[in-house]
């Protein structure tokens, strides 16, 4: 029994799942579900289909190089059964799984960090400009630190003298 990888999306194919297609040159294509199989029949390139692992690795969305990938290499030589070896392998699989998933999520977190900082800056700017939408006018008048600094415009004296007789 062997856990294979889906040719299209690179997820594991467990026994009893999926379809294998044998091409005339004896190359075997394994698919995990009919979604991948149908995409293959449509002749879609997995490197261009956004939700596949091939696309994500190619475009740097998921981590590509890590020492933990050595553990999942395909081995063609069967190992002689040894109870201790089997026990240790099972324990190791659990630990390695956790390490891989932690490293993968760290990679994604680091990738998204720059976007987060950018969004914080934009939000701060927006708050400064639109503070009148958030705070009551009375609070703005009392606490001058919340407003933008007032810009003084000098009005000339000649204009105000001309207007006075009109108001009477």
């Amino acid at each position: 029994m062997r856990l294979e990888k889906c040719w299209f999306c690179s997820s594991t194919v467990y026994p009893g799942h999926g379809i294998q297609f044998v091409r005339n040159d004896a190359k075997i294509f394994r698919f995990c579900r009919s979604k991948c199989h149908k995409n293959f029949k449509m002749k879609r390139n997995p490197r261009k289909v956004k939700w596949t692992k091939a696309y994500r690795r190619l475009h740097g969305k998921d981590m590509t190089q890590d020492s933990t990938f050595e553990f999942e290499r395909k081995r063609n030589r069967p190992e002689r059964y040894d109870r201790n070896l089997a026990e240790n392998t099972l324990k190791a699989i659990k630990k390695i799984d956790k390490i891989i998933s932690d490293r993968a999520s760290d990679h994604i977190k680091n990738r998204l960090k720059t976007g987060k900082v950018q969004r914080q800056k934009e939000a701060r700017k927006q708050l400064e400009l639109g503070i009148h939408l958030v705070k009551a006018p009375l609070a703005l008048a009392q606490d001058s630190s919340l407003c933008l600094p007032k810009i003084k415009v000098n009005v000339s004296q000649a204009q105000t003298e001309e207007n006075q007789p009109m108001e009477d």
Partner: protein, 122 residues
């Protein structure tokens, strides 16, 4: 899912190139033939200067189908074409070489000679 009038490729060097199924052996009128079934076929196209000639009626065993084959261990295998190997009345292949991949199920059905000659058994 091979039925009468189905054209099949020939996967050996017996001299025939293309067969047309006439009858599925051991079945009633409304059954399809799958991998491992013996069919009666007529040769539609043959390689010149070989013992087998065009429009000869022979028997063949199906080795590849486009319809999925469901294995006992849960695997489902689909090939790229429909192909058969020309055999005689006993079940021995008439040719000496087999081309292309062969399904492992043929071993259980006593076509061991075909399986041993095959370049790839899946």
């Amino acid at each position: 899912m091979i039925q009468p009038q189905t054209h099949l490729n020939v996967a050996d060097n017996s001299g025939a190139r293309e067969l047309m199924c006439i009858r599925v052996i051991g079945a009633s009128n409304h059954r399809y033939a799958h991998i491992g079934d013996v069919i009666v076929a007529v040769i539609k196209e043959a390689v010149p200067n070989t013992p087998l000639e065009r429009s000869e009626v022979i028997r063949a065993v199906i080795v590849r189908t486009r319809k999925e084959l469901k294995c006992d261990n849960g695997m489902i295998i689909r090939y790229d074409d429909n192909a058969a190997v020309v055999i005689d009345q006993e079940g021995n292949p008439k040719g000496t070489r087999i081309f292309g991949a062969i399904a492992r199920e043929l071993r259980q059905l006593n076509f061991t000679k075909i399986v041993s000659l095959a370049p790839e058994v899946l």
